[in-house]
């Protein structure tokens, strides 16, 4: 660290360098230097993600200096809107009095889904061969990108619309407008509205005075900031005394979440640049070029350093087994398991469940960082949902024997055979019934007692008027947790499902959506897999299994990286969807036309960028693994594997 300490000589200092060159640590050092003389409340630190907030706070270690002002952009926006709400609410079309409700992803999804389904029933949005759930998801993504790119609905549509077919954008914007109106009517503030309102707020002189509270501004990962964030940074530049920016000129990976590298470059150009670490740009420039060229089908590029001999197999199962074997071998040689990362473009169940037991058999654990685990994959959540269904036969949702077996086995801590026996009885009766003597004997005393606890609880619930899912869970979850015991994360899962139910109820009440179908909508929402689970439930010290972007967002280096499925086209999969396109939205100068060639080149540049960033985060070696056939038998000869040929 000492050799990276930098003298600060200019109002805007840019710490520039590749990943792992110590830029962020230089920022921490600058923070230390500033706060040795200035109260921390006058120093604003902006980081790329909320996940980085605690990381930064831990590094600065200033317990006695006052509140550390470290924010992600959205965290900052929410804080400011809550504090200055009266200034913006009328101009934004929020007619009601009171405080806004900042809704989360699941709540926004539910509201959007309502609008999409209504629209599709009216014959609108029929041109997509996609489920309503996916349309809702993609519309939310589009709204977020538009907001982060400082565009309103019409401007975003204008950029994206095909001049020969603008009708579909009229439909899309009609649905989005209805969704936003519903939000405003219910005082609900989603991502789009939060960003838009904050930008409105920034234009007010009264608020701009507030920004002068800060004398110093520090920004990490400038290259990953969106145009909305850059707009805010520009505004802050007017009032602060000194600015420190951390900038990787060849970064900008997070385009899918609004990153605007061109805008970031303009900001960085305003400052004095301090290059940290060795000047790698020559070699890395070649790497990007080589990457793009190889994806395009060039051959003959020389093998790059740090790349070990490939693992190449015919079948994917063999590739997974080989990787598990090599990883175990490294650990045997003394490499700590947390220093090994396995990267795959998609963490599918096959990969996770095949690799997990293979490593476990060698005494290693897997720390999955895909963020793709579904709430519905949690046994307690499934059990709670099934009880919700049993308590409301009027919803007409049928349950399978296996689902109930799973519920009883989990809740009553019994064996699967007795769980299935009980499930058979309950299914035959259509409800939780008192047990006969024979069944009590077969189940055993303790299981029967626990069952009757739940049965009595449901019985008394059904004797009263039905409650919303949130009300039901508030009443039942304590009983469920008592019966099921509390293994790790169990209360967290229970809390998550309760929060989800309460969130839906909140927006139902606020936006005057009929709560008639709320119960079934809630069940659909969880079962269709839209809702992600909290926590990975795995060992945080194990071998890391992650997608490329998830690994990058961890922000740390590994001794060894294994890149799996290198032949898979998923590595180079476009981040553009069937509705929106971040490459077009997240740029200050929109392209006059956008062709398939432009898209292909943008995809390649992004892949090159990802590959380079991952590569830089490997201290020792990158091992490439590929199989000729995917799990579903698709031939795979693309992806990153071509880079190395």
């Amino acid at each position: 660290m000492t050799n990276k300490t930098v003298l600060l000589t200019a109002p805007i200092t840019v710490f520039s360098g590749p990943p792992g060159s110590g830029k962020t640590l230089a920022l921490v050092a600058a923070y230390h230097r500033i706060t040795s003389a200035v109260p921390t409340r006058q120093v604003l630190v902006m980081v790329h993600s909320w996940r980085h907030v605690p990381w930064f706070k831990e590094r600065v270690e200033l317990p006695a200096m006052g509140p550390v002002q470290v924010f992600s952009y959205l965290g900052w926006v929410r804080q400011e809107l809550a504090a200055f709400w009266p200034l913006v609410k009328t101009s934004a079309g929020f007619s009601q009095t009171g405080e806004p409700v900042f809704i989360n992803e699941e709540q926004a999804h539910y509201l959007m889904l309502l609008e999409v389904e209504k629209a599709r029933k009216q014959g609108i949005l029929q041109g997509f061969t996609v489920t309503s759930d996916r349309v809702a998801l993609k519309l939310r993504e589009h709204l977020r990108l538009a907001a982060l790119s400082c565009l309103d609905l019409d401007a975003a549509a204008q950029r994206l619309a095909d001049p020969h077919n603008s009708a579909s954008w009229q439909e899309i914007n009609r649905v989005l407008a209805l969704y936003l109106q519903r939000c405003r009517d219910g005082m609900l503030c989603d991502y789009f509205l939060q960003v838009t309102l904050y930008r409105d707020l920034c234009r007010l002189p009264a608020y701009r005075a507030r920004l002068r509270d800060f004398r110093f501004l520090l920004v990490d990962n400038l290259e990953e900031t969106s145009m909305a964030e850059q707009e805010m940074i520009s505004m802050l530049l007017e009032g602060v005394e000194e600015v420190f920016l951390v900038y990787d000129p060849s970064g900008g990976l997070d385009v899918a979440r609004g990153a605007s590298p061109v805008g970031a470059a303009s900001l960085a150009a305003m400052g004095t640049t301090l290059f940290l670490g060795e000047d790698q740009m020559g070699a890395e420039g070649n790497l990007i070029e080589a990457t793009a060229a190889m994806i395009a089908g060039y051959s003959g590029a020389e093998a790059l350093p740090l790349v070990s001999p490939n693992i190449t197999t015919e079948l994917r199962s063999e590739m997974i087994a080989r990787v598990a074997e090599e990883v175990a071998g490294l650990v045997r040689k003394g490499v700590p398991s947390r220093e090994i990362a396995i990267v795959a473009p998609r963490i599918d169940p096959v990969l996770e469940f095949s690799l997990g037991p293979m490593l476990a058999g060698r005494g290693l654990s897997l720390n999955t960082q895909s963020g793709g685990r579904r709430l519905n994959d949690e046994p307690l959540v499934r059990a709670a949902l099934n009880l919700l269904v049993l308590a409301h036969p009027q919803w007409g949702i049928s349950l399978e024997l296996e689902e109930l077996q799973d519920t009883f086995t989990h809740l009553l801590s019994t064996d699967p055979v007795r769980g299935a026996l009980l499930a058979g009885e309950v299914l035959a009766a259509g409800e939780l019934i008192p047990l006969g003597l024979g069944m009590r004997l077969r189940l055993g005393y303790r299981t029967a007692e626990n069952y009757e606890l739940i049965q009595n609880c449901l019985h008394s619930y059904r004797a009263g008027p039905p409650l919303s899912p949130a009300g039901f869970f508030r009443r039942l979850l304590p009983v469920i947790l008592t019966v099921a015991g509390s293994p790790a994360l169990q209360p967290t899962r229970a809390g998550h499902i309760l929060a989800l139910a309460e969130g839906l109820q909140q927006i139902t009440e606020a936006s005057e959506v009929s709560d008639e179908g709320l119960g079934t909508a809630f069940i659909d929402l969880v079962r269709c897999g839209t809702v992600a689970s909290v926590g990975n439930g795995g060992n945080v010290d194990g071998v890391v299994l992650a997608t490329p972007l998830a690994l990058w967002s961890l922000g740390r280096c590994f001794d060894y990286q294994y890149w799996l499925d290198c032949g898979s086209p998923l590595w180079a999969r476009s981040i553009s969807g069937f509705i929106s396109n971040p490459f077009i939205l997240c740029t200050q100068e929109p392209p006059v036309s956008w062709t398939a060639v432009d898209q292909e080149m943008a995809n390649r540049r992004l892949l090159a960028c990802i590959v380079r960033n991952l590569w830089r985060r490997s201290r020792n070696r990158v091992v490439l693994a590929e199989s000729l056939l995917s799990s579903t038998g698709q031939e795979q000869e693309g992806g990153v594997s071509l880079i190395w040929r």
Binding site: F128, T129, R134, S299, S317, V350, V417, P569, S631, E637
Partner: protein, 726 residues
């Protein structure tokens, strides 16, 4: 003159193809002319000589098995020249090509990149369900619309068969790339009915974000037709497009390849219209390839030399060709086979046609199908014993006869296998996985426990009647999870070694049950690991697990019983996957094992000895007065083909008229295709060939159906007699 290259022999005719470097080229190749070898060699040469620049050669085939075969050959050629495996050449089926284009660029036409694809078995099942649901929920209005105008006497019989023909009709219409929107004005009774079913089916797919195989090509064409920039990009990626077996393509598939190649591009199509036998099931049409060969600017090369079969067998195939073009009674069908006789390899060539001792072709007419099956199987048994080093196939024109042949072979203890797919290994794996899944679905049933143990860890249980019987009726929970040591397995009264083995087996069952809380796909992987699956078996299990969220019908919630059923479903999605991933990829006929298959399945293969059975006038009609499958009898002695009528109504909708009686037209197509099928069957044989037929067969319900030797059979029999006489 032939040259040796990379272990493969190239005849001088083939060299003409290998000299190709640009433009459109059509190659007509007779059976055994080395089509695939030539094409693979060409692909390898284009790569190795750097003709592709930055791009790669794209090879398109119509069968999964052909992909593997092709890749292996190209790899072999390239490896011989020091190139890395597969580098520079993409081999795709037409469906996987369309799929990859849509995954990559589908957003341009409103497709999500995570859309799901129904395979053909799921597609047919869903379409059948949609048709049945529609037919049964519409107050039989359609019966009035459909039955009365055509005068069908029995609506019940029609109701039974209507879903089946509607499925075929809708599939055919879809294969032409027609969307239900385009059928809105349909007025014909059959087409309007099909249009409504099609509309319901398509809406179901679209709402659920699912595409079927027909959608893949249709949408890929839509994607490219609207985007010249994209076409240019793809032409850089694939400057050469090579197509294997274009006679099996339909107009939409041809359109896709023409778009990929471009007007000024490089396209090579290697096929044989005389081997086009898929028209009855699909919208493929050999006329498409024939038209291509005649297209201005297309260079045509013919590969007429074949070293596969003996000269006598080639003579017989050529005799069929001669007869079909000059003597076939239905004059309108005389163009069924192109006039391209097969030439045996010339003297001095390194390829030599097989030379069996004497004239090795025979024929026989049997009184009944039963006699035919039993006698042929008996001869096959003798031949296997006498010539264990020879490969052999028994081919029949339809599935039911194949089934009888297999039963007869099994009854005589003769080893047999299926052509191509070779799925026996997967079925054994599927049976084991399914048995455990059933047990996990109903773990309290002792009989499921017994079955699962018997199929997996304790096969000897089959011979332990008492123990097996006891397991079937035991309280499973007390056996596996006894609450006290006094309960559980009654360790007295059974053979101690058997008891010890059962103890270990029960431990395994507990292990399976420990996974029952896992998500379905994880259970399957867990079981695959426990059952010791490896290589292809494990790969298919992983594929099944990966596909569990994709294979299901839209909205289907898979449970373990569904999974067990799907695992064992003949021709189902998972078998399809097994063909793609599995050992079938390297199918080679085994000496000493008899291959039994339909003649359709035999395409692309060859054996030393081939028996062609069931060559009756019913299966190989020669005139429109013969009997045809799929037709309905109506009052007045007429017969109607509802699929042909539906397609004719579509033709009327599009063009305002049809040129001939659609049923007659369909009959002529069948006559022509069956001639080609017989030609394919004959040319599968290398040394020995035997033709047979029967005069009657017993249908389900005991009805005796009279048949006669097909006209083509009689012609061939006469030729055999003539040659024998010499």
């Amino acid at each position: 003159m032939a040259l040796k290259n990379s272990g493969e022999t190239i005849l001088s005719q083939q060299q003409q193809v290998l000299l190709y470097r640009q433009g459109y080229l059509a190659v007509q190749a007779v059976p055994g002319a080395g089509k695939t070898t030539t094409l693979a060699h060409l692909a390898a040469r284009l790569v190795s000589q750097g003709c592709c620049g930055m791009g790669r050669v794209l090879v398109v085939t119509y069968m999964n098995a052909a992909v593997a075969n092709f890749k292996d050959r190209v790899r072999g050629f390239l490896a011989a020249e020091g190139h890395m495996r597969g580098a520079g050449c993409d081999v795709r089926t037409i469906h996987s090509l369309s799929l990859s284009l849509l995954r990559e660029f589908g957003r341009e036409i409103g497709l999500d990149d995570n859309f799901r694809v129904l395979d053909e078995s799921k597609q047919n099942k869903l379409l059948l369900e949609t048709a049945s649901r529609w037919l049964h929920s519409k107050d039989e209005k359609w019966v009035r619309d459909f039955v009365e105008p055509w005068g069908f006497q029995s609506s019940k019989r029609l109701l039974e068969r209507a879903p089946g023909f509607l499925v075929q009709l809708v599939s055919r219409i879809k294969g032409y790339g027609i969307h239900p929107r385009e059928l809105l004005g349909a007025e014909g009774p059959i087409l309007s009915l099909a249009a409504r079913v099609y509309q319901d089916y398509q809406a179901l797919l679209e709402e659920n974000g699912v595409l079927d195989y027909n959608d893949l090509t249709r949408l890929a064409v839509t994607l490219l037709e609207g985007d010249e920039e994209l076409c240019s990009l793809l032409r850089l990626r694939w400057p050469y497009v090579l197509e294997d077996e274009p006679q099996d393509s339909n107009s939409l598939q041809e359109r896709l390849l023409l778009l990929l190649a471009g007007e000024e591009g490089n396209l090579v199509r290697v096929g044989d219209a005389n081997q086009a036998v898929m028209g009855s099931f699909t919208s493929s049409d050999p006329g498409i390839f024939r038209s291509f060969t005649l297209r201005p600017g297309v260079r045509l090369v013919s590969l007429t030399t074949s070293g596969r079969s003996s000269r006598d067998i080639i003579d017989l195939a050529n005799r069929l060709l001669y007869w079909s073009r000059r003597e076939q009674p239905e004059e309108a069908c005389r163009d069924a086979l192109d006039d391209i006789p097969i030439n045996p390899a010339p003297p001095g060539a390194s390829v030599v046609n097989p030379l069996p001792p004497g004239y090795a072709i025979g024929y026989r007419v049997f009184e009944t199908m039963e006699q035919e099956v039993q006698t042929i199987v008996s001869w096959v048994g003798d031949l296997v014993r006498r010539s264990p080093d020879k490969t052999m196939a028994v081919l029949a024109p339809w599935g039911e006869m194949v089934h009888h042949l297999r039963q007869a072979l099994e009854a005589k203890g003769i080893s047999w296998e299926e052509a191509g797919a070779g799925l026996g290994w997967w079925r054994r794996v599927a049976r084991r996985l399914a048995a455990v899944c059933r047990f996990l679905a109903r773990p309290y049933h002792g009989r499921y426990l017994a079955r699962a143990l018997q199929e997996t860890v304790m096969p000897e249980l089959a011979g332990m009647r008492e123990l097996s019987r006891w397991l079937c009726y035991c309280p499973v929970e007390e056996i596996l999870y006894p609450r006290s040591p006094r309960q559980g397995f009654p360790w007295t009264g059974f053979d101690p070694p058997a008891t010890a083995r059962l103890l270990m087996a029960l431990e395994e069952a507990r292990c399976w049950l420990s996974a029952s809380r896992l998500p379905r796909e994880s259970i399957l992987l867990f079981l695959a690991d426990r059952l010791g699956l490896h290589k292809e078996e494990m790969a298919v299990a992983q594929g099944v697990a990966d596909g569990l969220r994709n294979f299901g019908d839209p909205g289907a919630n898979w449970n373990l019983e569904d999974l067990a059923l799907a695992l064992e479903e003949p021709g189902g999605s998972f078998e399809h996957l097994a063909v793609t991933l599995g050992k079938g990829r390297d199918y080679r006929p085994l000496a000493g094992t008899v291959c039994v298959a339909t003649m359709h399945r035999a395409k692309g293969m060859e054996w030393d000895t081939v028996f062609l059975t069931g060559l009756t006038d019913y299966e190989f009609p020669a005139t429109t007065s013969d009997h045809f499958r799929g037709e309905f009898s109506v009052p007045g002695g007429f017969r109607l083909n509802p699929i042909a009528l539906g397609l004719a109504e579509m033709e009327t909708l599009n063009r305002g008229r049809v040129d001939m009686d659609p049923t007659i037209g369909a009959e002529r197509e069948v006559i022509a295709e069956r001639l080609r099928l017989l030609y394919v069957g004959i040319t599968r044989a290398r040394e020995n060939l035997f033709l047979s037929c029967h005069r009657s067969l017993i249908r389900a319900g005991g009805r005796v159906q009279k048949t006669a030797p097909a006209a083509s059979f009689r012609t061939l029999a006469a030729r055999i007699e003539e040659r024998r006489g010499k």
